[in-house]
């Protein structure tokens, strides 16, 4: 599974992502737990509110906030595993030998994005069916999910590398991730409200793009010092 040095950087990052996907598919415990968490949260929300429990004018804002709460908390159970899992299983040293930190970061970010996308693939149709979520602009929602998911994956992967060096990993991840991800989540919720109403949220999408760019640039600069042996 070790990527050969003559492969391109993108291909090597892809190999690292593939390794994580294969690992998850082999055990299936984590992915099933995450999807089960998303489904439970969805069922709770729909049971508490139901399709007729919301006033028409409150629907876009409440449904947008609820979908991102479900996505964030479901993803938060799996996203910190990126680097923490390598430390726990003792494979971090081997990974350091076969690829530079930036490529490992890229591969694991890609894996975390796929994890987010799979949760979204379950949660969004669930919301549409159970909460009668009427999406005005599917393309605006897709762009919001793409940019929001990218930001979530980049920041979570970097923070996973950071907390993998520390004790009390899961508690620490929530402590440091929540304040950093709030601007992303607020902007994503705002964009989702607009998408639900049928508009294209250009300003919010620009903010999400800037956030993703800033987070990716910072993570690229810093991952080397964080993942030093």
């Amino acid at each position: 599974m070790s990527p050969a040095p003559r492969m391109s950087a993108a291909a090597r990052a892809g190999v690292i992502c593939g390794k994580d996907v294969a690992q998850e598919l082999r055990s299936r415990v984590a992915i099933v737990a995450i999807l089960f968490f998303a489904a439970t949260a969805l069922a709770l929300v729909s049971y508490a509110i139901g399709p007729f429990g919301l006033r028409e004018e409150d629907r876009p804002a409440l449904q947008a906030a609820l979908i991102w709460i479900v996505l964030f908390f479901a993803a938060a159970t799996g996203l910190p595993r990126a680097f923490v899992h390598e430390e726990e299983t003792g494979t971090a040293l081997a990974l350091r030998k076969v690829a530079p930190a930036t490529l490992v970061m890229a591969g694991k970010t890609l894996f975390n994005f796929l994890l987010f996308a799979s949760i979204a693939a379950v949660a969004i149709p669930g919301f549409v069916l159970l909460l009668d979520w009427r999406i005005g602009s599917a393309s605006a929602l897709a762009a919001t999910m793409l940019l929001g998911g990218c930001g979530l994956a980049i920041v979570s992967t970097f923070l996973s590398a950071l907390v993998s060096a520390a004790g009390q990993r899961n508690v620490l991840f929530v402590l440091i991730a929540f304040p950093l991800l709030i601007p992303l989540l607020l902007t994503a919720i705002s964009a989702t409200v607009e998408a639900t109403r049928g508009g294209m949220p250009w300003t919010a999408l620009r903010v999400l793009f800037a956030y993703d760019g800033a987070a990716a640039g910072a993570a690229y600069m810093l991952i080397g010092v964080v993942w030093e042996d």
């Binding site: 304040p179 902007t187 705002s190 800033a214 987070a215 640039g217």
Partner: protein, 215 residues
């Protein structure tokens, strides 16, 4: 630092006296509540300055691996948190007078509370790592990463939704909406709080260096 300390005492006293006695209360605010601007905004400014100093020294640590830079960065975060909490307390006093509630979950209040959490997490992170070299490296990387994303929390997130907060000094018009005496005391207070920050930072960083080098 001794000269700074000696100058600070009379200067700070003069600023506090002027804040209560010189400018007239601003219109549109209940009673004398507008005078909180001479304490609340300088506290917020000082906290932001402290977090930027922490980011600068953290970056210096990552480049040079000098433990003194880490001592200063950690001290800056501690002092920044002190001023951050004072910002929340003074804001809460103002909120209670103006809006009848100590806490309103206003976007600006909430984003500032999250900023305090962001840097409180820095201290948790330091406590969680046992190895001193690793602790310094991880904490420095977090401080730089947090500083890069901080503008989204402080400047972008509060503007996503409507806010009760009065117009900030950094506003869309690009103008400082104050009369002459108010402006004079306001900038005097910014200078006084910045001096106070430098003095406390110096004390804290030197104490941290002593604790690190003591056998």
């Amino acid at each position: 630092m001794k000269i700074l300390k000696l100058l600070l005492l009379p200067y700070m006293a003069a600023v506090v006296a002027a804040a209560f006695l010189w400018p007239a209360p601003a219109q549109g605010f209940i009673g004398e509540s507008s005078r909180i601007v001479f304490f609340h905004v300088p506290c917020a400014w000082t906290a932001t300055l402290a977090f930027l100093v922490a980011a600068g020294y953290s970056l210096a640590y990552l480049l040079r691996r000098n433990p003194w830079h880490d001592d200063v960065a950690a001290a800056a975060v501690r002092v920044g948190l002190l001023f951050g909490i004072l910002t929340l307390v003074t804001g809460s006093l103002f909120a209670n007078i103006m809006w009848g509630s100590w806490w309103n979950w206003d976007p600006r209040e909430s984003s500032y509370l999250l900023l305090v959490f962001l840097y409180a997490a820095y201290l948790f992170l330091r406590v969680a790592v046992d190895d001193p070299e690793r602790r310094r490296r991880i904490a420095a990387a977090y401080a730089v990463f947090a500083a890069i994303l901080m503008p989204f929390l402080v400047f972008v997130a509060p503007r996503v939704t409507a806010s009760l907060h009065p117009q900030t000094v950094i506003n869309p018009q690009g103008k400082i909406l104050m009369d002459g005496p108010t402006k004079g005391v306001f900038f005097g207070a910014l200078l006084a709080f910045s001096g106070l920050f430098l003095w406390i930072l110096s004390l804290d960083a030197r104490a941290a260096r002593l604790a690190r080098t003591r056998p």
